[in-house]
Symmetry: C2
Subunit: 496 residues, 2 copies
């Protein structure tokens, strides 16, 4: 069985040399030919710097144009790319540099100080940190070049943080990323006019996967340094963007910004990840005629593995859809009951780097991955994700899903965002508490919120405390970090 394909960027440079590959919000554009040539020049530089096939090279970068070039250049010489989160502290970076056995780190001037400190602590000499402006592209081809991709080869390592212990490096092969891109096209279709907007960080799998679609489909991407609702709406209107990957809060801000206006017809929709979306938000999107396709996925599945098909988007509001055509899903519970979501498919990781035990804990020998997420299937086989298992609140023996309460709160007039988590309780074991960002337009009182909850939720699900906060803790992809909510509670308590 042949499991090699031509290198995807080399191929697009042959198939679509003059077509736009990447368009930046600052006006820079690169055609496939240019992206390929620039990547080759970088590749020759990295090779000269001593990078060899199989070496682990860290990339610590925001969404700058250099980032895809560096990624493709490292891929051309067969290096494994370790994507680092730009929000990490020097201490956190140190662990990942050591754990991933990094031999070279590529970064940008902005992260100069933290990168330097982390490298020092990790025992990486300073000449093994390369900042973008120090790269001197060579005018020759690298002596070794991967003109073919072996789908079984390791391509990226991205770290995920567990509830306990150290982060784990998720290994993804070229085949994982390829299967993800192909499966998404089979699900969403692929028009000749497709253009994806990327405003999620490319060091996370969601942003990174758009970079792969870019070279697997020969589809242009519009790359933004960060999410900003005005700029995203402008880009959709003016540059022919057809698709956008986003998390709930981003969609919410776009809807707020749009006011009474709509998005143009060429815009096909928002691929909505990062946890179950509040139903009121999905209903608002429906009102605004913004197709929002809920997806479910994680680093371990190279992004989406379950996606709501456009044709079912309105009929199955709130569902994450069905597993992509190459993937399988089962729930570790009786039919209709909530249980752990277990998935399989060619996009699923081969395991955690150097963590045999952690890998065996969640993966079976025949490739099934226990996700740690809870969900159920309806009678038609649509997946409803209820929550992360680790976020589950158990109160007096009852299961409480923070996402359910957040969804109710998000539907209340005057509430902009809400986050819920559990605190210890003498009587019930745990009870839910809520953190609310109020709308700027009107005041909203604790008793209003409690009364609203009493009318919408069973008594045991009603939050026992309401904390008004300025903002909720979110990660670089704007995903709510429930574990950090309790820090706000202390601050709030201190104030009160």
């Amino acid at each position: 069985m042949v499991t090699t394909i031509p290198h995807w960027l080399l191929k697009q440079a042959e198939l679509n040399p003059e077509e736009t590959a990447i368009e930046m919000d600052d006006g820079i554009t690169l055609s496939y030919q240019e992206l390929h040539k620039e990547s080759l020049r970088y590749a020759a530089y990295f090779e000269k710097s001593g990078v060899k096939k199989g070496d682990h090279v860290a990339v610590l970068s925001s969404n700058r144009i250099e980032m895809p070039v560096v990624i493709h250049s490292l891929s051309y010489i067969g290096a494994v790319i370790v994507l680092l989160n730009t929000r990490l502290t020097a201490k956190e970076l140190t662990f990942q540099l050591q754990d991933a056995e990094i031999t070279l780190m590529v970064t940008e001037p902005d992260f100069n100080s933290v990168a330097g400190e982390a490298a020092h602590r990790a025992g990486l000499s300073q000449d093994k940190i390369v900042e973008y402006q120090e790269i001197q592209p060579e005018e020759v081809r690298p002596t070794y070049m991967q003109t073919e991709i072996n789908l079984g080869d390791l391509f990226t390592i991205m770290y995920t943080s567990g509830t306990t212990g150290n982060p784990k490096g998720v290994q993804l092969t070229y085949g994982n990323h390829w299967a993800s891109a192909v499966s998404s096209a089979l699900n969403l279709g692929l028009s000749p006019f497709e253009k994806w907007l990327v405003c999620l960080p490319m060091f996370h799998v969601s942003g990174f996967s758009a970079l792969i679609k870019n070279v697997v489909y020969g589809m242009p991407i519009f790359l933004m340094q960060r999410f900003e609702e005005k700029a995203v709406i402008k880009a959709i209107r003016q540059t022919g963007v057809t698709m956008l990957s986003a998390v709930s809060v981003m969609l919410q801000r776009m809807i707020g910004e749009l006011g009474g206006e709509q998005l143009p017809h060429h815009f096909r929709g928002v691929l909505l990840g990062g946890g179950p979306a509040p139903k009121p938000l999905l209903e608002k999107a429906k009102e605004k005629k913004i197709p929002a396709f809920q997806t479910y996925g994680m680093t371990e599945t190279a992004s989406q593995i379950v996606t709501l098909n456009p044709k079912d988007a309105l009929r199955k509001l709130g569902s994450a859809g069905k597993p992509l055509s190459t993937a399988s899903l089962k729930i570790d519970a009786a039919v209709g009951e909530v249980g752990e979501i277990i998935v399989k498919g060619p996009m699923v990781t081969t395991g955690y780097f150097k963590r045999e035990e952690a890998t065996e804990e969640v993966m079976s020998e025949d490739g099934w991955l226990a996700t740690g997420d809870l969900g159920y299937l309806d009678e038609e086989g649509f997946l409803f994700v209820v929550d992360r298992r680790k976020d589950l609140i158990i109160s007096g023996g009852e299961n409480i899903y923070p996402a359910e309460i957040e969804s109710v709160l998000a539907g209340m007039e005057g509430v902009r965002e809400a986050g819920v988590t559990g605190i210890k309780d003498e009587n019930w074991g745990q009870v839910p508490v809520a953190f609310i960002v109020a709308d700027t337009n009107g005041a909203i009182r604790e008793e209003d919120v409690l009364q609203f909850c009493n009318s919408e939720l069973a008594k045991y699900k009603c939050p026992k405390e309401i904390h008004f906060v300025d903002q909720l803790p979110r990660n670089a992809s704007n995903k709510l970090m429930r574990r950090e909510l309790l820090c706000l509670r202390k601050v709030d308590g201190d104030k009160g």
Copy 2:
């Protein structure tokens, strides 16, 4: 590396249960759910009849609705499907039944007699021939069912006839067929409204590949028993057909039938295979605004491996395009020169069944297949197929490509179809002779044709004989069989 995917029909029955899978020209339609259930019932019957995983089962069938059901049912129980050409004689069938180690043959009443004779000669007992009407679908599931497809497993064997020696059984795995379908979607795009018309026989790889797209994309197909220009045009107009696979003569007849009219806008185009198309035909199609995408492929590559992209279709008229994004191509000659076309990709066969030597003759260890076809690449890397190497005429040391002469003849007023081949000649070694089907509208004389050729072709390329015939020999896919042209010459000579 996970190389299994959920069984594609089972998957579509989950994803799109109520959607139309197959629509027949006689009005029968099957949804994915129905196709799945019927295939399961057939599978249980075949299992009861003794078919086991790995058994080789022959299917001798025209494009009837039972054919896809039988194919999927055999796939559900893991049997290998040997597709037999319905035009074969009992003697030819006998060889294939024996060579492919057939344990059961499924056929339709029309082929009762030839199937019976072939089975008898091949030593297959009469109870191992099952006609469609004898199948008694079981109301239970088969005890063994392949809910997953292992992409490395052998799926089909189809025979190709070489110039010398016995036909060879081309083995294609599930992975070959899957990669073919996926690569085609990445090239042509995939709209949510896609619908493919299948009028080429499903026992050939071109028709069969549409059956695979049907279950890999979840895209409906419109199935016709045979090509008939009026019916095809009607189907395109009335049933929302967007794509059609065809060979040159079919497109030519459609254009003739259309007269001054056009095809509706929803029709995206004709995927044109079966050898290089005459340029005058492509120009006529352009005039009629029928997008015609030349493709290049063969049984060994699970259908197309090189296809002209819609966006280059008019600019590169006459080219077969570039290799699909998962495939590679090289020409065994200097740049710009004509040489043998050599291809590689995940859709390329693993080899000929039980023919190690024949396999080694055309395939290298790293997966390159020498196709036996001649072509060249232009400066932008577009492939121009000039001819089958075996059809090449060598005259006084000059290479003459029959396809080139046919293309010129097809452009002459009064000529409907033309076929060219070589005959032995004392002086030159070989010389070209032409066979012409004249237009019904006007008389056309031998001297007119010769004069036309003299004005359009170098002297050594001008046919030395012109034979007017009623029709050209074509195979079941309407592909011109040049080797059989000489039989017409004899008949013609007898008459004269």
